[in-house]
């Protein structure tokens, strides 16, 4: 019995070291009831993983806890086997667009420069190569013409692209996105998925909260079905089936399919 436990632990340790981002026993609570409970998640390197689940399933909470943006009740995170504190440079994060005040007096190019904060530090001088990188990142999301605009003057889709450009400027190995396709136009969705698939093809790891069940098989390699706890996780081909979806969404799946927006959040 003891022997088996040790072996399990060793296997898990190996899995965590091999994984770009591994979460164990993550539990977060905002009040009396837990938002997520004892969640394990092990990302596969070089894969695109979707977190899918009904409204209030704790999808954004899981992302924030995995990035140590919020403090959990319990749980641990490893990044390439190391601690978040040591490995922050390898993670880029795109928060929900709605979490930001878009009236903020800042230009598109300045938002992208924010992605270089860890590189620049408190007082590091912005040099030509930093500006060139910012312009290149804007170019990759098709937004170079808007560099000098105030961010509030952009459409929702354009704002989302700028957020993605800021993440690209972090030059990370893991890209974590919270609802990147929520409220964006079709052209933006295409542009964003192309960039993300380009990252994946370059060996990067992508994790996104996703609300449109119809596009999961097209866009993603792996899926985590979440409803406070993990219902199922693994490659889309094995995991993304009627049975698991029903388990995750309860009886609400038919409504969810009819109206993808209703499962956002």
């Amino acid at each position: 019995m003891t022997l088996t436990l040790v072996t399990d632990r060793d296997t898990d340790l190996a899995a965590r070291v091999a994984s770009p981002l591994a979460v164990r026993g993550m539990t977060v609570s905002y009040g009396q009831t837990p938002a997520i409970f004892s969640v394990d998640m092990t990302l596969r390197a070089g894969a695109m993983t979707a977190i899918v689940g009904p409204n209030g399933a704790g999808k954004s909470t899981l992302l924030k806890a995995a990035l140590e943006v919020i403090t959990p009740l319990a749980g641990s995170v490893t990044v390439f086997g190391g601690t978040m504190a040591d490995m922050r440079d390898r993670i880029a994060y795109v928060p929900q667009r709605a979490s930001v005040d878009w009236d903020f007096p800042v230009r598109v190019i300045d938002v992208v420069m924010m992605g270089m904060y860890r590189q620049l530090g408190l007082l590091g001088r912005i040099r030509g190569r930093h500006r060139a990188l910012a312009r290149e990142c804007l170019d990759r999301v098709g937004m170079s013409d808007f560099a000098r605009r105030q961010i509030g003057q952009l459409s929702g889709g354009q704002q989302q692209r700028v957020f993605l450009a800021r993440a690209l400027a972090q030059e990370a190995d893991i890209y974590v996105l919270d609802e990147p396709f929520a409220g964006v136009d079709a052209a933006t969705e295409k542009a964003i998925i192309a960039v993300l698939q380009g990252l994946r093809d370059a060996g990067k790891t992508v994790l996104a909260v996703h609300h449109d069940l119809a596009t999961v098989p097209d866009y993603f390699d792996d899926v985590v079905l979440l409803n406070t706890q993990v219902v199922a996780a693994g490659p889309v081909a094995d995991t993304f089936n009627e049975e698991n979806l029903n388990a995750a969404y309860g009886g609400r799946l038919t409504t969810a399919r009819a109206d993808p927006e209703s499962v956002a959040g």
């Binding site: 943006v69 979490s99 903020f104 007096p105 300045d110 938002v111 924010m114 408190l122």
Partner: protein
């Protein structure tokens, strides 16, 4: 004219400008964080702090009063955080509850204690006494180069220089994380920026401005300067750095123009007495905000 101006008008005017800028600088970020009321709160809660300091020491001296004010400001900030988190109440409401309660407590304390023989009253806390900060050692403009005369400058002047220096250094050093976490707190935390302590440090800087300013100029100017110049500046530009520059300009303009209008304005219209400089400076800052709201180039918002 020269000698009189240097001795009587220059020091209060310079102090007014320093106060205005010291409050407007952190006010820029407070405004964008939806925390603009914090300046209002701090400048009100210093009153009970001063009264308690006076009751404990029996002195109307700068040291104990500053200490009492700072203590009250810290208690208020903690109490606001406690109400916000424990009561799950929006921060503006939490501030409103705490600062009105503490200010009212200060007024009651003041009325119940025997302060009739000292210069400590509600009017002083509100309006200060900018006009009294004169420089008797000055004979003319040459006094500005005379070390002996300079030693006689009002102590409020050096205190405000110190406070402004501390605040400006803080903003310069932490500008990037401050701007970043004000715009997008989750992203800032994702970068490893400790937004909690950083936000608290910004509030402490605002408290330093408010406490250093209150006894020279009263809380009216402090409240106005935390909000009016940054709010007017926001309508002049869509870039944060430029907004801060505009706010400094507006703050200084309000201080100088307000002081001159208070001192000489009534004479120009035939009245004999001058009016409160603190009140006039706050009024001018409000007028600047009004003009910016009507004519500023970036006053429309998207959504």
């Amino acid at each position: 004219m020269g000698a009189e101006f240097v001795a009587l008008s220059l020091p209060p005017m310079v102090i007014g400008v320093l106060v205005a800028i010291a409050c407007a600088l952190p006010g820029n970020l407070l405004l964008l964080r939806g925390q603009a009321l914090i300046g209002d709160a701090i400048s009100h809660v210093v009153l009970p702090g001063i009264v308690v300091a006076f009751l404990l020491t029996g002195l109307v001296a700068t040291g104990p009063m500053l200490l009492g004010a700072a203590g009250a400001a810290v208690i208020a900030v903690l109490a606001i955080e406690a109400v916000r988190r424990l009561g799950r109440i929006e921060s503006g409401a939490a501030m409103g509850v705490i600062f009105t309660a503490m200010f009212a407590g200060g007024v009651l304390l003041l009325e119940q204690s025997d302060t009739s023989n000292v210069h400590l009253d509600v009017e002083h806390a509100l309006y200060g006494n900018l006009e009294s900060l004169i420089w008797l050692d000055a004979t003319d403009w040459g006094s500005l180069l005379d070390p002996v005369a300079l030693a006689g400058l009002p102590v409020e002047l050096s205190r405000m220089v110190l406070a402004l220096t501390v605040i400006a250094l803080f903003l310069w050093l932490f500008w990037r994380p401050l701007a970043l976490s004000t715009f997008d707190e989750d992203f800032a935390r994702g970068l490893g920026i400790r937004t909690g302590p950083l936000g608290l440090a910004l509030v402490i800087m605002s408290a330093i401005a408010a406490v250093a300013a209150f006894d020279a100029v009263g809380s009216i100017i402090v409240i106005a300067m935390f909000i009016c110049p940054p709010a007017a500046a926001r309508m002049m530009t869509n870039r944060l750095g430029h907004q801060v520059a505009w706010s400094v300009l507006f703050a200084a303009l309000a201080a100088v123009l307000g002081y001159v209008l208070a001192g000489y304005g009534p004479l120009w219209i035939g009245a004999s007495a001058s009016v409160s400089a603190a009140g006039m400076i706050a009024t001018v800052s409000g007028i600047i905000l009004g003009v910016a709201a009507v004519a500023g180039p970036h006053r429309t918002r998207n959504g």
